[in-house]
Symmetry: C2
Amino acid sequence: MFDCNVYVRRRRELLKRLQGETGIAVFIGNVDAPAQYRDNCYKWRQNSTWLYYFGIDEPRFAAVIDLESGEETVFADDFTIDDIIWMGPMPSVASLAERVGVIRTAPYAKLDWAVSQAIIQGRKVHALPAARYYNTMKQQGLGIDKPSEALIRAVVSMRLVKEDIEIAEIDHACDLGYEMHTRARQGIKPGVIEQEIVGNMESVANCKGWGISFPTILTQHGEIFHCHSHENTVTPGRLMVVDAGVESKTHYASDFTRTYPTGGRFTQQQREIYEIVYRCNELAFSITRPGTAYRDVHLAVARQMLEGLKDLGLVHGDLDAMVTDGIAGLFMPHGLGHNMGLDVHDMEDLGEDYVGYDPDQQRARQLGLGSLRMARRLVPGNVITDEPGIYFIPALIEQWKSERKDGGRVNYDKLRSYYDFGGIRLEDDVLVTETGARRLGGRRLPIAPDEVEEAMAKE
Amino acid sequence: MFDCNVYVRRRRELLKRLQGETGIAVFIGNVDAPAQYRDNCYKWRQNSTWLYYFGIDEPRFAAVIDLESGEETVFADDFTIDDIIWMGPMPSVASLAERVGVIRTAPYAKLDWAVSQAIIQGRKVHALPAARYYNTMKQQGLGIDKPSEALIRAVVSMRLVKEDIEIAEIDHACDLGYEMHTRARQGIKPGVIEQEIVGNMESVANCKGWGISFPTILTQHGEIFHCHSHENTVTPGRLMVVDAGVESKTHYASDFTRTYPTGGRFTQQQREIYEIVYRCNELAFSITRPGTAYRDVHLAVARQMLEGLKDLGLVHGDLDAMVTDGIAGLFMPHGLGHNMGLDVHDMEDLGEDYVGYDPDQQRARQLGLGSLRMARRLVPGNVITDEPGIYFIPALIEQWKSERKDGGRVNYDKLRSYYDFGGIRLEDDVLVTETGARRLGGRRLPIAPDEVEEAMAKE
């Protein structure tokens, strides 16, 4: 938890940004999420927007801010003697609320009363979209039928620009991410089961941070984006994609991806593709600066990627036309990056378009560009990922071929020898500064192909 | 997943046990549980009863069994091309259903239709209690207003008696639990942060099993039962309670507790209490056999415990009267044990009393005995925990003292020197056999006080 003033200042700023709006704003923190039954829950994780404005890292808290009077109330229940026996002594709700600068508190059940009173009085009730099923149910129960666009936009506008204290936390999460990825790289030895590497690397997150910031991707099938199976044995000659991050104890995320040759050395074919992805990663960083739309950075990367693939004879034709027609999407069917902060895809629960698109930007429908989560014109304080990738996805290639989606630009015959290639992704976390950009974390994970081979040779 | 016949046989047996009931039985598997937003979910965990009867370890499956015709239908959606890009190739719903012996499949959305048809036709709809908020919402949406006692009782009667293939899995989970606890014990060194021990020990579960079977308890405040804070530094002279288990890849649990002197050797005071708890654990095991009610084992342990505490001068009076009056509850305010299987508290989502109490048994209201989760007359195939503990909980002692709850049996003056003691719990997992009982897992974790000190001296 940060200093009390941080939360007071943020809520004051929120009120300011909501000037002209009437009614109340309701914030509902998370409750424990049962895995099997109510007494066996998943690891506790507070709602990120709640953490941002109210900081209290305990289940079953809610709050109401009166947008007209500015009055703030925290709703939660004090511990009973039974709670104390089972869960230990606990500060009172009043003292927890005081730590974040809120004076008025009330029992949790009173939230229903506060909201229904507002509804009866015909006042507007502003709430954020609910991501967890409990919160959906709770909002339905409160009679909140839809989220407030004004509140979403105000929250997004604040959380998009990271404060210095937040950047320090993200730097720290990145340092832990560096350590976790190093442990992973050291574990990639032929014959090892992937899951052993995952279990060992995640212990860094569990020993030193809050845990992992998202389910670890560690796979020799990099062409499967959200592959969470770790059953395979490390086999020489493959590429291992490791996409993983740590959540700091204050709940800020890191998110890095590296791709390693399982035997320690790239094949010629692997190195050719790796070099393209590496150049794309470097290019994106070099042109990331205030005023530039990240959508344009994505498109510059697409062009660079097509140029490399063209040199290899995998595509042919005019580069600009290929960019316009979205040919890069066949190889990189995802966006270049996303915002990162208290969530690894920051604020994704509030709506991707609100978070990642300026009001005058329209989301594309093309494969790849259409998945871009961050398109906005960059401003200092934005924290984003730079994560180009090239994948050879047989099902997708076959689809494009049969539906002639490429306008004759793709060399399908040549692509056939890549069907068992897998994929490569290289991801760094980047802060937009006043003058350009800075990679987050004290040290950058080895990324140049020689550097990677060298690191693996020593391990 | 077990062999197809296992699931066919179980469902046939379930139908038999529901003979006389009409209508349909609805089984709703889990969906992914969002941690922060829909694309960042907690680790996938299927519903245990679903696993028991339908085995398919994938999200968003449901099934209906027609209790009259015996017809079975699995409801789920096949992968689209987009799913394949993001999550890889996946067997069809039909082939997954076939693996567990179900021929009829239908899209997930058809479940609503199947249930509403039954309701319109005035047929009974049997469903189980929902533990997760999604399942609660789904059942509400389906118009299922309350769980079916007949279905609960039939399921409980089957899952309470473990099959040989299940016992083998629990033995395996216990072997992994042994390994995880050994890692924990080796990590308990003065100066280490508790969380480092937790992160390291849990990597055993993550490397070799599905993960932990419940949130690890590792604390120098053993008097706090569900203490999940691991912020403290290991301090010589304290007692470290480690209560943790592994879930096997087939989702069977283990659950062991050991209590260690943080400096490697017990103090005199610690050893005296430890000896009592150890004797209680041994006693419980020695009298666990078919035909005995586990409630009586709990009471025998309470008597043994009071005898030990009486020898130390902490209580005085007639032992039998003290047992009847629940004096042991001040020191052990929890039950002796619970069922264990696909859930660490097996079937707790179906209702503790259905699972742990014979129809003719009434749950007590006393502190301690009232929390007993397993009171039933034991039958071969029951898997239960044997986990006596003694705790000194200042808030509880003060409450008893001021409310004179002890009928003059407690020596509060003497208890004062135990206020900073913490607690001790010693837990094994036990199978009820034809003739008695067997501790599960190949090796028993060191438990006798000398044995514990010896193990720690070597590490």
